[in-house]
């Protein structure tokens, strides 16, 4: 939201777009204030009327005390029921999906003979080995020590080469070892090697083997990640080991980030592979098991969306959004899917907006196929209607906000602006504060918050 500029849906107002003095502008905003006041008054009036109507009803229908008592107790019971209902409903309205299923055994590792490791071989014939008495059999354990104590990356950067056997070995440890020290050291090793800032080194560093998308995808699948199937809500996992990824997932996330940031090797992934990875990362955001490491996920998603070239970005962004929205349920999860994206830079703003729009399109599948139609459906919702699903309305409201605000989507589209404003006013003014339906207050507060922050500008 812009803070200083004119109201979003006012930007087309000829009075505003022409240069005006500050004084005049203030006057115009004053008019807007009058308008809101007017609406507020209207709302109050409606509330008052409804209250009075209720009161009248009570007085008219009952004369004796017993009758009154009965009505009161009936009302209390109703309230109680409603409250219980509300409580029950809200328990189901918590974000969280089962993104992971059962773990699978790790794929058959393409085990490279570590003994063939060149510098291990060379050392065995070195006279200095008389101090160490190193043998081929002890080689594995010795290399583990080198890795955990951080020698390996130093050695690689000083000798200028990472052999295939070492690369494969460390990659497998990172993704499949159950030992925390091995997997984090292996991940640090790859980070040190791939993110070296030394330009001279970068040119001379030779890495004989690189993992590809297939191997990384395979790893994620073995953790239990469900590719390409719709995800079901869930935040309590029953049974042991079901739906719980191994701790290696942190290293996996970090490694994806590194692959996108490295300058040592270009085009590790194709753009469609990055699309799938970005989709997977957004899905991880939706699993409550990862709420503690949202920083890692954010960084990873950011690196992924920066990986695209400017030319391919918009199309790829749409692909991510389209394939993601088919997989997630249209409840609080879809809001989480939008709001987990940082939105600070232009690209992530655009991704936010695109995903929100695609979800809306899916919600109104049979009614709307373009921007105008979506808004037409939204403005045609009669919020006063008892049958109106306010929970859905809340979701539409937040999605529309993310779609339109902050993404330059409103620029040069006066009609869209106007309809957005109308939708907001419907939500904020036509729902009475006495409305007991669940989400009534959330919709009203949200809408008036958006309106208010726009008017403050």
């Amino acid at each position: 939201m812009e803070m200083d500029g004119p109201l979003d849906f006012e930007s087309e107002d000829p009075l505003l777009s022409s240069p005006v003095t500050l004084k005049k502008r203030k006057k115009i905003i004053g008019l807007d204030d009058l308008l809101t006041d007017h609406y507020k008054d209207k709302c109050k009036l409606v509330e008052k009327e409804s209250k009075q109507a209720k009161k009248k009803k009570n007085y008219d229908s009952d004369d004796d005390d017993f009758g009154k008592e009965a009505v009161v107790s009936q009302v209390v019971d109703e309230c109680q029921n409603k409250m219980n209902q509300l409580g029950g409903e809200e328990d189901t309205s918590i974000w969280g999906l089962n993104v992971f299923g059962e773990q699978r055994p790790p794929p058959a590792l393409q085990s490279q003979e570590l003994e063939s490791c060149h510098f291990l071989q060379t050392f065995l014939n070195n006279e200095v080995n008389s101090l160490l008495n190193l043998t081929v059999e002890k080689g594995d354990a010795f290399l583990e020590g080198l890795l955990v104590n951080g020698w390996l990356s130093t050695l690689v950067s000083l000798t200028g080469r990472a052999e295939k056997s070492l690369a494969v070995w460390t990659f497998n440890l990172m993704l499949y070892s159950s030992r925390e020290d091995l997997r984090t050291s292996a991940c640090d090793f790859w980070r040190d090697v791939m993110l070296t800032t030394n330009e001279v080194e970068q040119q001379h560093l030779q890495i004989d083997w690189f993992p590809n998308y297939a191997q990384l995808g395979e790893a994620l699948e073995s953790y239990g990640y469900r590719f390409e199937c719709s995800l079901n809500p869930g935040f309590v996992h029953t049974g042991s080991g079901r739906g719980e990824p191994p701790q290696n997932i942190r290293a996996w996330i970090k490694f994806i980030t590194i692959c996108c940031q490295t300058k040592i090797k270009n085009n590790i992934f194709t753009s469609s592979e990055v699309e799938q990875l970005a989709e997977a990362i957004i899905c991880l955001f939706l699993d409550r098991q990862f709420q503690g490491i949202t920083m890692l996920l954010c960084e990873c998603l950011q690196s992924l969306i920066n990986y695209f070239t400017d030319e391919e970005w918009k199309a790829c962004c749409e692909n991510i959004a389209k394939s993601l929205v088919c997989r997630i349920p249209m409840d609080l999860n879809c809001l989480r899917a939008v709001e987990c994206i940082s939105g600070v830079d232009p690209r992530s703003k655009y991704l936010r907006s695109t995903i929100a729009y695609q979800i809306l399109l899916l919600c109104f599948e049979n009614e709307a196929t373009n921007e105008e139609e979506v808004l037409r459906v939204l403005t045609s919702i009669t919020v006063k209607d008892k049958s109106c699903d306010l929970f859905k309305l809340y979701i539409y409201l937040v999605l529309t906000e993310n779609w339109l605000v902050g993404s330059r989507m409103l620029e040069g589209k006066p009609l869209i602006c106007e309809m957005w404003g109308l939708f907001l006013r419907n939500c904020s003014c036509q729902i009475a504060s006495t409305d007991l339906r669940s989400y009534a207050s959330k919709v009203r507060n949200k809408a008036s918050y958006i309106l208010q922050s726009s008017f403050d500008e």
């Binding site: 030992r179 942190r250 490491i293």
Partner: protein
């Protein structure tokens, strides 16, 4: 002094805080927590997403910080932590400008009015600390120390079983506080090195906290050391095969357990990094202070305290058990090498009478000189007696590693500045000397079992030499 945008900011403050007001501050119900999340999202939307970003107000910052400190759910603490970090990155309190684009005219900009999570100068009584109402959850130097001590308990395996979100939020809180100190100290210290204006560093948050009357500096530093070693060791030993939830007394749903476990390992590492960062900053502060002392810029008000590097050396001397865990987790190569070299230097019989102040650390000591000094049979013998064979192996191996990393870094950063010459000597020569020291040790004691970390160092040295670098 109202700034022109305060009207808008005031309105945003009112609107966002209204989201929180709906729920009582002390409640931890689902509704209240939902409101807190909505508040964080609203602050984020108002301060970070617009094109012309403006920082949140004092009250808003305080409210976010309170959520981090007292939040009970993982979602709350990690969201608030992330928001605070994003805000600090976007709106730094102290930064160096490059006024005319030319490299000569740096200027330090300090936003005096910016919000910080620390209270300095005013005393917080114990009762206030308990209720946290008057302080708004802010920390004074003593509060900071208590937080750090709390982290030390985490690394105690017994306590780990009762893992709850309080432990996790303390780890994030500590990391955030250290990054606040860093954001304040680093640009100040950088400017000090250019201008030699000691006041810049004296007024840094870090220095003011360490100088606080209520702060027991030595105690704090010792706690840093034990916590760093304990936590680092614990994390390194953690193995999936042994699941802590099985022994947990509190029965919790499985998913929460995985969420906590994933978060714990990540936060633990973050807290470790922060601890290391804090110690390195203190050592940088010590060295700037010493420098200012020599220049005569300090006053009596600056006080006297033992430099951290010396405290660490003493601790390592008295307690050989922490030598190995310390060298494992202390990953800053510059200060690691400095500590190791000075450690050796204490035990090396100096050939000539030194004219400098003999109680201070030796300025001319380098790792190469240490290696040379101990590579003849008589000196090797005497130093083994004094330090012990196992400790020597550890110190040499880690010293060598720090040397390699530092020399690699120096070649990247171009000309080494005279103070950074701790590395000293060429790589190949040092490799050769390292091997000859071990040969010496071996000839002294034919039965000598070389420890695994020393073996790794020798292996690396030999491999580098065979590549003839």
């Amino acid at each position: 002094m109202e700034n022109p945008s305060s009207g808008i900011r005031g309105a945003i403050e009112e609107n966002t805080l209204a989201i929180l007001d709906a729920s009582e501050a002390t409640k931890h119900t689902r509704d209240a927590d939902d409101d807190r999340i909505a508040f964080l999202e609203a602050v984020r939307a108002a301060s970070l997403l617009p094109e012309n970003k403006s920082p949140p107000t004092f009250k808003m910052c305080e409210a976010i910080f309170k959520i981090l400190r007292f939040g009970k759910s993982l979602e709350l603490i990690s969201t608030s932590y992330q928001l605070l970090n994003e805000l600090d990155r976007r709106f730094p309190r102290v930064y160096v400008t490059n006024a005319n684009g030319s490299s000569m005219s740096h200027e330090l900009v300090v936003l005096q009015e910016a919000w910080t999570p620390f209270v300095l100068g005013t005393d917080i009584s114990d009762s206030e600390r308990a209720t946290n109402d008057l302080t708004g959850g802010l920390l004074d130097p003593l509060g900071f120390h208590l937080l750090l001590q709390g982290l030390a308990e985490v690394s105690d395996v017994e306590n780990f079983q009762a893992l709850d979100t309080k432990v996790l939020s303390n780890m994030l809180l500590f990391h955030y506080l250290v990054s606040v100190l860093e954001g304040d100290f680093v640009p100040r210290n950088q400017m000090y090195k250019e201008t030699l204006n000691w006041i810049l560093v004296r007024e840094s948050l870090l220095n003011m906290i360490l100088c606080s009357r209520k702060m027991n500096f030595k105690g704090l530093m010792k706690d840093c050391l034990t916590t760093l070693c304990g936590l680092g060791h614990f994390l390194a030993e953690y193995d999936n095969a042994v699941r802590f939830s099985e022994t947990s007394l509190v029965k919790q749903p499985e998913a929460i357990d995985t969420a906590l476990a994933i978060a714990f390992l990540h936060f633990g590492r973050i807290a470790c990094d922060a601890m290391l960062k804090l110690m390195v900053m203190v050592m940088e502060l010590d060295s700037s202070k010493k420098d200012a002392d020599m220049q005569g810029h300090t006053t009596r008000a600056d006080g006297v305290r033992t430099p951290l590097a010396e405290i660490i050396q003493d601790e390592l001397t008295y307690d050989k058990n922490i030598l190995s865990p310390f060298l494992q987790v202390f990953k800053d190569s510059k200060w690691k090498l400095e500590i190791i070299v000075q450690f050796f230097w204490k035990y090396i019989s100096k050939p000539s009478v030194r004219t400098r102040r003999s109680n201070g650390p030796a300025e001319d000591a380098t790792f190469s000189r240490v290696l040379k000094c101990i590579s003849n049979s008589s000196s090797t013998k005497s130093i083994t007696k004094k330090i012990g064979a196992h400790a020597i192996h550890l110190l040499l191996a880690h010293g060598f590693q720090a040397f390699l990393l530092l020399s690699a870094k120096q070649t990247v950063e171009g000309l080494p500045d005279s103070k950074e010459q701790v590395a000293g000597g060429s790589i190949v020569e040092t490799c050769k000397n390292l091997i000859s020291v071990f040969n010496c040790l071996k000839t002294l004691d034919k039965q000598l079992e070389i420890s695994s970390c020393a073996k790794e160092a020798i292996f690396v040295a030999a491999t580098i030499m065979s590549k003839k670098l």
